[in-house]
């Protein structure tokens, strides 16, 4: 088991945002997280990554068999968890390349990865400064590609991205999740999506529905998304569990 979340209850600023959440992700699997705005999806990703402000009241997070519930963020990153942020901060005066050079010293690899995302010109720009929605997503994916994590947390990778760029992003995610490999796929992903568009590019294994901080359904991601599109989240929540 790569990620094993057991009975997780989390508070943000004294308000409970996740209640008794269970989630298991095996190596090589891609899971999708559905849910309304404010249902706790981003909170779950932030808690897995270990951000301050997300206080675990109950439950445990295991990664590669180790209890990481109290690990600092950078330890988790070093163990192989990587995250693409929906609205990452701007870091004044620090060029994207400055950070990437710290993450990966293989210049050839970095140059090719940047090229594949059509981001070469952005390497010299300050991190996220004045980036459009699509540029932010691509820059996040580039950082992840150079970081090469085993578990990839993607927070709405397609939001604010035009159709042309969605294809580029889809390809990058496929590479990150080793979808190009038939066997020996080890990288796993947990992806938040609202539009479901990313499902057209990335084959997902399991879907989960989070409503009001609770896991309400688990199943085939395409079927779940079809139900949500047709009848809404509440109906999806009633269908199985």
């Amino acid at each position: 088991m790569l990620l094993d979340i057991r009975d997780l209850t989390v508070e943000v600023g004294g308000r409970e945002v996740l209640t008794g959440v269970d989630l298991k992700i095996e190596q090589g699997e891609t899971h999708v997280l559905f849910g309304k705005n404010g249902s706790g999806k981003t909170s779950l990703l932030m808690t897995i990554m270990g951000f301050s402000g997300y206080r675990v009241k109950k439950g445990k997070i295991f990664f590669k068999g180790e209890d990481i519930t109290d690990f600092p963020i950078n330890e988790r990153a070093k163990m192989g968890i990587g995250m693409s942020f929906q609205r990452p901060p701007t870091i004044k005066g620090v060029k994207t390349m400055d950070l990437i050079a710290i993450l990966n010293s293989d210049e050839k690899f970095v140059a090719e990865a940047a090229e594949s995302l059509e981001l070469t010109a952005f390497l010299d720009r300050e991190i996220n400064r004045g980036f459009s929605g699509g540029e932010i997503k691509k820059s996040e994916l580039l950082q992840l590609m150079t970081q090469n994590p085993d578990l990839i947390l993607l927070d709405e990778p397609e939001s604010g991205v035009d159709l042309e760029n969605i294809a580029i992003i889809g390809r990058a995610i496929k590479i990150l999740l080793q979808k190009n490999l038939r066997r020996l796929r080890v990288n796993a992903g947990l992806v938040i999506t609202h539009t479901g568009l990313i499902l057209n590019y990335v084959e997902a294994d399991r879907g989960h529905l989070l409503l009001d901080g609770r896991m309400r359904c688990e199943g085939n991601p395409r079927e779940m998304f079809a139900t949500i599109q047709k009848s809404g989240y509440e109906v999806c929540a009633r269908c199985q569990k």
Binding site: I73, N74, K78, G82, M83, P88, P89, I91, G93, I102
Partner: protein, 404 residues
């Protein structure tokens, strides 16, 4: 007695408008003379290192001229390009009949006791001039060094860029490593004539108990540009300066950049005043300050006196400690319709969100903080040739390391 001397005597007790009042009598007035050194071979290894810390290369490689003053003695004045003059102020006064059009013309000798003192106890300084149309190929370097404990060093500098000329000056101010007390008063008068460009990069590296009172004024004529880059990242007891730039000619431009770091016990009161006196004049003041226990006052004044001028002032401060303080005091003074002036000021701490974002990429908290601070201090130094930019970046980075 000359008029100037009389005015100076009358202003001897006049306190400065800003900054802690300093008892000038507590500093030594006489220094042991140092011999002139044609090839700069008499410097000790330690002295050479000190100069390198403030961007001064004793060999003079990649420089168009050199001026080194140690205590009260001009130790070396050399110019390596035709049309570039470098000499001591004493010599220039003698050679050019008292520099009547320049000496105490931009700075008023009666400004305060520091200017008065610089006249009454004058200890040399530099004179740099580029001739009409001459573009200095490399920067001229000038260093003012205090080596004697408890000494007052009062210098008066004149920089003249004749019409259409171009000049870079890199100036390093430094005290000897173990020196405790010292006083540096520096009068600097700049005359930048029609269409000329001067870029002045100044690096301060004083001792912890050293008091510094520069008094600078810059006159910028039509179509001329004055760029200033000031870096002060090492401790000093008290530095107070408020250089005044007058954009006197049409379309004159100035940019004043400062990077200031105050550690415990340091008091920096640093400003920039620009009066935009002709149509089309443009000014930008950009200041980045970090307090790690020291106190900083960052002042900025823009005065718009003619329509069609444009000016912006930006001051960002980062508090890295619960001690110390940063006060940003931006002022805009529009005096006619049709001026365009703005300012931004912010004082804060490093955002937790930024630190954690970088930690999510695997950086430790310390590494993340260092990267953010480095970015914060990375001010685009204007008007610098690439090799000099790299030199300055290297000096800033070296200081960052000692900061964190």
């Amino acid at each position: 007695m000359s008029e100037v001397k009389k005015k100076a005597e009358a202003a001897q007790a006049k306190k400065g408008a800003y900054g802690t009042d300093i008892d000038l009598s507590s500093f030594k007035k006489k220094a042991a003379p140092r011999a002139y050194d044609v090839k700069l071979t008499s410097l000790s290894e330690e002295e050479e290192k000190c100069l390198a810390d403030v961007g001064i290369i004793p060999s003079g490689d990649l420089r168009s001229g050199n001026f080194l003053q140690m205590d009260h003695s001009a130790v070396n004045c050399s110019a390596f390009q035709k049309g570039v003059e470098v000499m001591s102020s004493v010599e220039a006064l003698r050679k050019y009949d008292g520099l009547k059009d320049y000496w105490w013309k931009a700075v008023d000798v009666a400004t305060d006791k520091y200017t008065a003192n610089a006249e009454l106890d004058f200890n040399n300084g530099y004179f740099i001039r580029v001739s009409k149309g001459v573009k200095a190929k490399f920067p001229v370097q000038a260093c003012l060094y205090i080596g004697e404990e408890g000494l007052a060093q009062n210098v008066h500098n004149i920089i003249i860029a004749e019409e259409g000329s171009e000049l870079h000056v890199i100036t390093g101010c430094r005290t000897a490593p173990r020196l405790k007390q010292g006083l540096h008063i520096g009068i600097s008068e700049f005359y930048i004539k029609k269409g000329a460009t001067v870029t002045f990069t100044m690096i301060h590296n004083w001792g912890e108990q050293v008091v510094v009172r520069p008094r600078t004024a810059v006159w910028v004529e039509e179509g001329a540009t004055y760029n200033s880059n000031f870096v002060c990242m090492k401790p000093a007891r008290s530095i107070q300066m408020f250089p005044a730039v007058r954009l006197k000619g049409k379309n004159a431009v100035t940019r004043l950049n400062s990077i200031l770091v105050a550690t415990m016990g340091s008091e920096l009161d640093i400003g920039g005043r620009v009066s935009l006196e002709a149509p089309g004049a443009k000014a930008e003041i950009l200041t980045r300050t970090i307090s790690k226990g020291g106190s900083i006052i960052a002042r900025g004044i823009l005065i718009g006196e003619q329509p069609g001028i444009k000016a912006h002032l930006e001051c960002s401060g980062l508090m890295l400690s619960d001690e110390g303080s940063i006060r940003a005091i931006p002022e805009l003074d529009g005096r006619v319709a049709g001026v365009e002036m703005s300012h931004e000021a912010a004082v804060g701490r490093i955002s937790q969100e930024e630190i954690e974002y970088l930690m999510a990429r695997g950086l430790s908290e310390k590494e993340a903080t260092a990267l953010i601070v480095r970015g914060f201090l990375r001010v685009e130094m204007v008007g610098l040739p690439e090799h000099l930019k790299k030199e300055i970046d290297r000096l800033v980075e070296a200081s960052e390391k000692s900061l964190l």
